[in-house]
Assembly symmetry: C2
Homo-oligomer: 146 residues x 2
DNA sequence: ACCCGTTCTTGAATGATTCAAGAAAAGAAC
DNA sequence: GTTCTTTTCTTGAATCATTCAAGAACGGGT
């Protein structure tokens, strides 16, 4: 029901697929599309994957959910929006955790030289190894970043 | 020739494909794989795409080049490494420009709450609109980020 | 010059995401 | 409540960057 209002508030039609997808994303933070499809089908078995892709895009464009897509990972989604938090991603298992913005307010970063670009967002991804993978220490593959 | 030494210095075998790829990346900063294939084939017409993929991965893992992969874009590469700079990406045309790190030293950011992750890198991507697209102002598609 | 292990070529496979066309449903009007 | 119009969903196929696999070719140390 809270999803209904969120959709209506964003000026979107309240359809069963959208409600199911929004609920699924809220229940599974950082879930990938496939997990969302599975989760949403628990409430709506006949849901097509295309409807999920469409819904995710629409919800993202409306700002109800946020898309995260670290290199080497498929798209992931979350409902925690508007607080400009960032993410830590594990290089070996792909686990994602939220990290509060070190500076508090959005945008938390301002490029020193923006080459004439109009910047509206600073996306930060911290790369490392999660606690579980640190203990079993498999060799992670780097991106070449510093 | 400088590529030969770079490869040797990284403990890699100096093969024609690797030299051609490294030169191509150096000559075309932020180029995608396909552009690199085309550029490398100017010096080595028989080069296979697989060799380019292999070379790019090896070079990246050895730290000779850096892989960038903004959401919605294919992988891109650059030879400017070790200075921890970041990137501005245009939402409408995908153009990429370098941005010096606002804080100077690497890692330039430290997450306030790292959830037990061992963080070795902070990757920053600024999203916005490039000068060319700003003047023709097509409507860019946001990611839902702040 | 030879040999071994790495790397390259060729060609097919993978898989997340998108495209396309018609059917169904949402919301507004009657 | 019914009808209409537009949006959205279902079905099914297509795309395309990237990876996998097997055998040939090459790099570099002896």
């Amino acid at each position: 029901m809270v999803s209904d209002e969120a959709l209506r508030g964003a000026g979107l039609r309240v359809t069963q697929p959208r409600v199911a997808v929004l609920d699924a994303v809220a229940a599974h933070p950082h879930a990938d599309t496939d997990s969302i499809i599975v989760a949403a089908r628990e409430h709506l078995p006949a849901l097509s994957h295309q409807a999920v892709y469409d819904s995710l895009r629409t919800l993202t464009k409306s700002g109800l959910i946020r898309r995260i897509k670290p290199s080497g990972s498929v798209a992931r989604y979350e409902t925690r929006i508007g607080d400009n938090h960032h993410h830590v991603v594990c290089r070996s298992c792909g686990a994602i955790a939220d990290v509060d913005c070190a500076h508090g307010a959005a945008p938390c970063l301002t490029p020193s030289n923006h080459h004439g670009f109009v910047v509206d967002e600073a996306e930060v991804i911290y790369w490392g190894t999660c606690p579980a993978c640190t203990s079993t220490h498999p060799q992670p593959e780097r991106n070449g970043h510093v």
